[in-house]
């Protein structure tokens, strides 16, 4: 291979994405070619670059921002609740009302203090603007949902597990969360994550969507562990629709004997 051909492979080689045959080809080439060898060397050398850590001030600025936002939301809710009573006295009050409350004022003051100090230090840089903070008041009503949904998309199984864990915080989960958990139960590649999703869904059994989704998930499972957990859940719910699914499962030619036995037991319970 010449340098041009290696150049096409090198980015994947550097990330460890090449099959063994091509790795050998690249390595044979770089043994003989100083230029390409140096490309690899400089990539590896980048590891010595320290990234540095953000200062504590960044966290403080974020908290000031967040607090200003939260205070705005709380005040906005209170204002909405009392709006009819206050309408006559303050007919012209608008979306910037929340800035006038003492709590919001304190938060805003602190936020601006931090921003002001920073603005003095870094004159040309960005800072939260009034209109942006005001806009936040009407936004961000489902951050928990955002977090759960995003965490369930993470590549790391432990993060997805954490996402499932967060979803349990709601006594009555949002339909989008339920949908995401059902999707996780069906398609997540990690058995532990699927089991955790089932456990989270079992707390939402009052919702028909959950029972139907869990029942349907049985046909998608290949792991005996999850199959048994699903069967147990169906027995616990005593859902009449589960019988047909269990019979279908029993007919699977390559069913694990332990699962088959469990399905038989479940059917005897449900009949």
């Amino acid at each position: 291979m010449n340098c041009e051909q290696i150049a096409e492979l090198l980015p994947d080689y550097l990330r460890g994405n090449l099959p063994a045959g091509q790795i050998r080809a690249v390595e044979q080439h770089i043994e003989q070619c100083a230029e390409c060898r140096d490309d690899v060397a400089i990539w590896n050398k980048l590891a010595i670059l320290p990234a540095g850590q953000p200062s504590a001030l960044l966290g403080e600025r974020f908290e000031a921002l967040l607090h200003a936002y939260e205070a705005g939301r709380e005040d906005g809710r209170a204002a909405a609740g009392a709006s009819s009573a206050k309408q006559e006295r303050a007919p012209a009050r608008g979306q910037f009302d929340w800035f006038r409350s003492p709590l919001a004022g304190l938060a805003w003051g602190l936020a601006m203090l931090v921003v002001g100090v920073l603005a003095g230090t870094f004159a040309s840089r960005t800072s939260p603007r009034t209109d942006e903070l005001a806009a936040m008041r009407t936004e961000l009503t489902g951050m928990r949902q955002l977090v759960v949904l995003s965490m369930l998309q993470q590549q790391s199984a432990s993060e997805r597990l954490q996402g499932v864990s967060f979803s349990r915080a709601e006594a009555q989960a949002d339909p989008k969360i339920i949908g995401a958990l059902l999707h996780t139960l069906r398609y997540d590649p990690n058995v532990d994550v699927r089991l955790a999703a089932l456990e989270a869904l079992s707390r939402q059994s009052s919702q028909a969507q959950v029972r139907r989704g869990v029942t349907d998930a049985l046909q998608y499972q290949q792991s005996p562990l999850v199959q048994v957990a699903l069967i147990d859940q169906l027995v616990e719910w005593r859902d009449p629709g589960a019988r047909d699914r269990l019979r279908e499962l029993q007919q699977s030619a390559d069913l694990n004997p332990a699962v088959r036995q469990r399905a038989e037991w479940a059917l005897s319970k449900l009949n």
């Binding site: 980015p11 990330r15 980048l46 670059l49 320290p50 960044l58 870094f122 936004e139």
Partner: protein
């Protein structure tokens, strides 16, 4: 210190805890400036609040976040209309070195990186440090997968050449006291 204990704010705090350091690292490596990197991180979380409605449930969160992060940086660049220069305001690389040679190498590498055009620095840092797949980088930059790989390779080659030039400059300085380290590209080869 204000505390956020419950509700959505708490969850935004989780996102902050998880992503502020990787974003800061990315920004500081691209801009070489600690202060503006922190500003940019702050701006990203402000934009998350503002534009959260544009997040499509069921789609991966990280690409959405990095798109916001990239736009924040582009906006900031537009405002300042200049590249951050390497010299006095740079984040001084403080490597945990055990030798003067490694310290010098780190410094040279840092300087070489800062001499790359920003778009090359960006793609190299995304590929090297952000654990993003090339496909994700392609989506972020709005280009083809093969284009990303080609750009990564070109950026790497330019970095290597710049680093070598700086190394030679240091060597030449040793031989000729008072010489600048900005030697012409291939001099002395």
């Amino acid at each position: 210190m204000l505390q956020v204990r419950n509700g959505d704010g708490e969850m935004l705090g989780v996102l902050f805890d998880r992503y502020h350091a990787p974003l800061f690292h990315l920004y500081s490596r691209i801009t070489g400036d600690r202060g503006s990197s922190e500003d940019l991180v702050q701006e990203v979380f402000l934009k998350i609040l503002r534009y959260r409605q544009s997040y499509q449930p069921g789609t991966p969160f990280r690409p959405w976040l990095y798109q916001i992060a990239r736009n924040a940086r582009i906006d900031a660049l537009r405002r300042t209309r200049k590249e951050v220069s390497f010299e006095p305001e740079m984040v001084k690389p403080v490597a945990p070195t055990d030798s003067a040679q490694q310290e010098q190498e780190t410094s040279l590498l840092h300087r070489a990186l800062m001499q790359l055009p920003e778009e090359k620095r960006e793609i190299l840092m995304l590929a090297r440090f952000q654990e993003m797949k090339y496909e994700e980088i392609a989506a972020l930059l709005g280009c083809e997968l093969n284009t990303v790989k080609t750009r990564v390779h070109r950026a790497l080659r330019e970095l290597r050449e710049t680093f070598r030039r700086l190394e030679q400059g240091i060597g030449a300085q040793g031989l000729r006291p008072g010489a600048t380290d900005l030697l012409p590209g291939r001099q002395g080869q």
